[in-house]
Amino acid sequence: MRASPGSRMREPMTFASIEPMFAVAAIAVLISLALAVFRAILGPTMFDRVLAGNSVGSMAILLLSVVGFLTGRPEWLDLALTYGLLNLVGTLAVLKFFRHGDLAHDARAPDMGLAPDPVLAEDVALAGDTPPIKEGGS
């Protein structure tokens, strides 16, 4: 059916060898990324900025994948995967930090150390949602 399955991925990168469809995709993703950055700058509330940051993250994943095809180097896809994992952690960390003012806050077992005992945590969870700690500043 085809000569060699991944042949496009192994071509050397020259200006003439740029596949137009990947260039189109890269440009579209770049424009979207710019719009998301504008939203991050404009965003009236902190949550608009976090949303824009999360959106920039998923655009970056797409851009990394497309660039991998544009340059013929599939290693970019591994970067995209790693970036995707970090994007979620980053978004949640920012949200948690602004909600509790503390990244180590554990809503289930407030006085435990790093790893809450599952049995105890279950008991605490059964008592209902623990009310969040109110920050005095905001």
Binding site: D78, L81, A115, P118, L126, G128
Partner: protein, 169 residues
């Protein structure tokens, strides 16, 4: 049993990501997969919630095809709203009853709602929070919809029934 299945899944993931199949790397992958499965078992996260492999044998493919079609339909309607110069939105907050039995089912339902453009699950009220057991009552989701029709579709309960069928099947 579940640990073995998790180890197999992890090793398959290792193989897919690695791309190098020398004996040393394969052995490392086996050891790492088993170690991760044992660690997960020790952390008490290796249960029907942490590794819901039992859902895989059922209609997972048909569910995801159905969900994909739902996503395409609602994404198209949101696209039309965004590109409409008048921006005809009518944001609505509503509460949706769930009829799933397990928390995995409720999570699948809530994430399906959020994944579908135009509706976002904002919160979950656990029905069993007063009586102490969440298995008896049904949880209630708080949903923000971009348009009133999206909220009404969810209130109609078609998606809820579909997820419940996927969970039971």
């Amino acid at each position: 049993m579940r640990a073995l299945s998790l180890a197999i899944f992890l090793f398959a993931f290792w193989l897919a990501l690695s791309g190098h199949y020398t004996p040393f790397l394969l052995a490392t992958g086996v050891i790492m997969a088993i170690a991760c499965a044992l660690l997960a078992a020790r952390m008490h996260i290796l249960d029907a919630e942490g590794h819901p492999v039992h859902l895989l044998s059922k209609g997972v493919l048909s569910y995801f095809l159905w969900l994909g079609w739902e996503i395409v339909k609602s994404a198209w309607s949101v696209t039309k709203i965004i590109l409409n110069p008048r921006l005809p939105i009518s944001p609505t907050m509503t509460r949706i009853k769930t009829s799933q039995k397990t928390s995995v089912g409720v999570t699948v339902f809530a994430n399906s709602i959020t994944l579908t453009p135009g509706t976002i699950t904002v919160g979950v009220e656990s029905a069993g929070s007063t009586s102490g057991s969440s298995s008896g009552g049904h949880d209630i989701l708080t949903v923000h919809a971009l348009q009133r029709e999206g909220a009404q579709d969810l209130e109609g309960g078609a998606m809820d029934a579909r997820v419940a069928r996927f969970e039971d099947a």
